[in-house]
């Protein structure tokens, strides 16, 4: 077992974990945050996307022990009593169907807009190109990211 300390959604956690534990399992099984989903376990679908120190990662491809001292954001960490503007936008334009890719999509969009609030449509598409969705044909997802951009600019 290895001791690891990291900040997840603003809260500091220290846990003794097996050395081979994936960040995805750390988040889901150790911290019981079930919003991060697994779709392939090999970094191809993006359902397990989380933000680590401002950048997006497939948490199935990251060892939890490599996150010592890092700041992680999961879907549970982006809103409090009120929805985050990106969540609002996904809801309003109906960018959600089965919902399984949604947390990862929202986090990919957030990482982009946090870094570049003026992102172009092309940049938005690139930002979520690692997140697969079989339900929506991506139409409403890109529309939601654009609407979120507008909402965030107004704030």
């Amino acid at each position: 077992m290895i001791k690891v300390t990291m900040t997840v959604n603003g809260k500091l956690y220290t846990r003794e974990i097996p050395p081979m534990m994936r960040l995805l399992d750390f988040i889901r099984d150790e911290l019981k945050l079930k919003g991060t989903k697994e779709g392939c376990g090999e970094g191809e679908c993006g359902a397990c996307t989380v933000i680590i120190d401002g950048d997006i990662y497939n948490s199935c491809m990251v060892l939890a022990t490599s996150c010592e001292g890092k700041r992680i954001t999961t879907i549970e960490g982006i809103s409090g009593a009120e929805l985050h503007p990106i969540q609002e936008a996904f809801l309003e334009v109906n960018a959600v169907q089965c919902g399984y890719c949604t947390p990862g999509m929202i986090l990919s969009a957030k990482a982009l807009l946090d870094k570049n609030i003026n992102a172009t449509e092309k940049e938005m598409k690139e930002a979520i190109s690692g997140n697969l969705c079989r339900c929506t044909g991506y139409q409403k997802i890109i529309e939601a990211v654009k609407l979120a951009q507008k909402k965030l600019k107004k704030r």
């Binding site: 392939c40 109906n94 919902g99 079989r134």
Partner: protein
């Protein structure tokens, strides 16, 4: 029709829980010390299992159970998610067991392990020793039909699952008298659903000795029955719970892993065991879409009317029957209410091969058939120099058309208007003229394709649906249905129906989204684009019953006749004067607490629907073909649908976008490939299998022509599967327009296109 809430774009009921990550899917539930199940899969496409030694695996610390077919009841069962048929002649083919004693494809389930965790379970799999006698295999269905081909199931030595078809009219005479006879062969590839949540379920035995299974399924009530059949248990001993599910597209309209997880918990003293397919397993050991090769021959009269059609189809169902012959029967039935053929002869064959089992996938065989038919129609028009749009319009069926075999009647058809809209959206005339005689490296073309589709399965199958409504003290209601929300937005549509009938707002309707076979009304589940049409009728019936009970109390209270009353904005009103009488809440309180008349208001009802409604639609597409690389880019694409009344525009748009995207993958990139020599899959992962990403998906234009279908509870027809049917032939026809080359096999990926250009001397 003057609806208030039907037709409005209310937000999905589950949107907040999904955007916040709170929505619970099968793998998000906790159970005490959940064990991990794993499956040992065959490395051979065809092999007899002579012996299995599991002793070392069993001895590994942390292993709870290891079992093989030897340890299970010798019961063969069918996995297709169809309603049970009391008539044995209409049952699905019972050709598989939970674990097999003979491997019929690479990936067949040979043994199962339950262990404390995944690492130990994987280690245990390596310790199982299997003695295989490898047999010759066959992947090509035409070769499987040859004499001397390897026999995949002893019960069917000719490898034919089924070959019944049908015919109507004086087919021979129509061909004899034809002005033109046209022929073509059109083929499709094996593709996969690729729902982002793979097959997953967990099971345990509860304190009453009943098996509880929580599963990502489209069909909880059917799953319960099949688990009972597979294990030889009373159906009532089994309880299936369906939480949120991460996509299905037909692949969860099949009982694939539920009997296995039930067996896993039985062998583990009833402890909770979870089995989740890896993505690689999901590609080959759940289900795929049948590759079907259609040979079409049509007879035309001298005024270019389609007179007769001969359809010869070979459907590759892989190693197990699964939905089997139903797929090609659906394909060859649902195209018939499109063009006015006077006679037809349909000869379909469903054939076993040593490939993963093919099953239900969005639109159930119809994308394959419509690819063939609509490609063929364009080939006819090109050969006879006819306008493809006018030709189609001249041959469309009209209201009143009755299929001579199924007797399904066309009661509404807006296809001609759909075509007009699509034609205008894409600027057909102008662009077709512009793109004549191009010679450059990049050539543009326009194509279109039509389709017809059913709403549910009547008359082939039972169409029963249940709904239960309970009125609360505050005038709000709970709705329970056995139909399943799988992402398509069904729950939201049902809530709109209840709100419409009861005159309350959508936020006063709480839909219980989880199905639990112990308490959920009976319904066969999400498939065949049936729920809005079939379950929608049950929901309306239940809501009308509740309304009648509410107005009965109001009538008793005020003295006016029930007919004189109505509910509007949760208020009882006198219809004629629009006068408000009392709140719905007051009536609800009386129903609960009146010392003389207390009788809380509920309805628990079901419908058996014995009609079908034909939905229609069209795809218009513009492509640009790179003549040097074979890359096809979609410049513009529009789908226009006649699905009757649209219950929720926002949700309907979502269905069309997703369906078109899936259709474009089918047209341009998706193909599950296998090594001929070994039968091993070559690209069963999301990197090598080319699913559409956001970078590949163009902007998708959508429009609707809202006919009113008299048999729909609110005028509605099907929509869920429909949008995925016509994009592929439309793209193929656009490429034909751009290049003059007929591509008769999907997909049109750069390699195929490049090679064909070479053969045609274009490169």
């Amino acid at each position: 029709m003057g609806f208030k809430i039907i037709g409005s774009s209310v937000n999905r009921l589950d949107a907040v829980s999904k955007v916040t990550g709170k929505a619970k899917y099968t793998n998000d539930f906790f159970e005490r010390e959940m064990l991990c199940g794993k499956v040992l899969r065959s490395p051979y496409a065809h092999a007899v299992i002579k012996a299995i030694d599991v002793s070392e695996a069993k001895a590994l610390p942390g292993v709870i159970a290891v079992f093989t077919s030897q340890d299970l009841p010798k019961l063969k069962y069918a996995t297709a998610g169809h309603p049970w048929s009391i008539d044995p002649k209409h049952r699905d083919i019972e050709d598989r067991m939970i674990l097999t004693d003979k491997a019929r494809y690479v990936g067949d389930s040979v043994a199962a392990v339950v262990a404390q965790d995944e690492i130990i379970a994987k280690e245990a799999l390596k310790l199982i020793k299997v003695d295989y006698e490898v047999l010759p295999h066959v992947l090509d269905p035409e070769k499987a039909l040859e004499k001397g081909a390897p026999i995949i199931h002893e019960e069917r030595p000719n490898n034919i699952v089924n070959d019944f078809g049908n015919e109507y009219g004086d087919y021979e005479k129509d061909f004899m008298n034809a002005q033109h006879i046209m022929e073509g062969v059109y083929d499709t590839s094996i593709v996969q659903h690729c729902h982002i949540e793979t097959q997953t379920a967990y099971a345990y035995i509860d304190t009453d000795d009943r098996i509880v299974i929580v599963s990502s399924t489209q069909i909880p009530h059917i799953a319960r029955r099949v688990v009972g059949q597979a294990l030889g248990l009373s159906w009532g001993k089994i309880r299936v719970i369906k939480p949120h599910i991460g996509g299905g597209f037909g692949n969860k309209q099949e009982v694939i892993i539920e009997p296995l997880v039930a067996a896993m918990t039985i062998f583990s003293h009833g402890l909770p065991v979870r089995y989740t397919m890896t993505r690689e397993e999901c590609f080959i050991s759940s289900r795929t879409r049948h590759a079907i090769k259609f040979s079409l021959k049509t007879a035309l009269t001298k005024d270019n009317k389609l007179q007769a059609i001969h359809v010869l189809g070979i459907s590759n169902t892989g190693s197990y029957a699964s939905h089997g012959h139903s797929i090609i029967m659906s394909a060859t039935s649902k195209f018939r209410p499109l063009y006015n053929f006077k006679s037809f002869k349909i000869e379909p064959k469903t054939v076993y091969t040593n490939l993963p089992a093919a099953g239900a996938m969005r639109a159930y065989g119809v994308p394959q058939m419509i690819f063939a038919l609509e490609s063929h129609i364009d080939d006819i028009c090109r050969k006879l120099d006819l306008d493809p749009i006018e030709f189609r319009k001249q041959n469309l069926v009209s209201v009143g058309h009755e299929d001579p075999i199924s007797h399904v009647v066309v009661r509404s058809i807006g296809l001609s208007e759909c075509i007009d809209k699509g034609k205008e959206l894409i600027k057909w005339e102008q662009k077709r003229a512009n793109y004549k005689e191009q010679t450059g490296d990049k050539r543009r073309g326009l194509g279109m394709a039509c389709f017809s589709y059913f709403s549910g399965t009547h008359p082939v199958s039972l169409e029963v649906a249940g709904a239960r409504i309970i009125l609360n003290q505050d005038g709000s209601v709970q709705l329970q249905v056995g139909a399943t929300e799988i992402g398509q937005g069904a729950d939201t549509a049902f809530a709109q129906m209840v709100a419409e009938v009861l005159g309350i707002s959508i936020d006063m309707v709480h839909v219980i989204s989880t199905q639990d076979t112990d308490i959920t009304p009976f319904d066969t589940g999400a498939y065949a684009s049936r729920q809005t049409y079939i379950t929608g009728a049950a929901v309306k019936k239940a809501a009308l019953e509740v309304k009648n009970k509410i107005l009965t109390i109001a009538s008793r209270k005020i003295g006016l006749q029930i007919d004189a009353l109505d509910i509007n904005d949760a208020t009882i009103i006198e219809k004629k004067l629009g006068k408000e009488i009392c709140s719905l809440g007051e009536i609800a309180m009386e129903a609960f607490y009146d010392r003389t008349h207390s009788h809380p208001i509920t309805s628990d009802t079901s419908v058996n629907i014995r009609t079908n409604a034909i939905a229609y639609g069209v795809t218009f597409v513009e492509v640009e073909v790179d003549m040097k690389t074979g890359v096809i880019e979609v410049i513009e694409i529009y789908n226009v649908h006649d699905s009757g009344t649209i219950i929720n525009h926002k949700a309907a748009l979502g269905q069309v976008h997703g369906g078109v995207s899936m259709g474009l993958g089918y047209a341009l990139s998706e193909k599950l490939m296998f090594d001929e020599k070994t039968g091993r899959p070559l690209n069963n992962n999301l990197l090598d299998y080319k699913l559409q990403t956001i970078m590949d998906t163009p902007k998708i234009g959508v429009d609707f022509v809202e006919t009113y279908e008299e048999t729909g509870s609110f005028g509605q027809k099907s929509l869920g599967e429909n949008p995925t049917i016509s994009p592929a032939p439309a793209v193929r026809n656009a490429v034909l327009d751009a290049t003059g080359v007929s591509f008769n096999k999907l997909p049109l990926n750069p390699q195929t296109v490049f090679e064909k250009f070479k053969t045609e001397g274009l490169l």
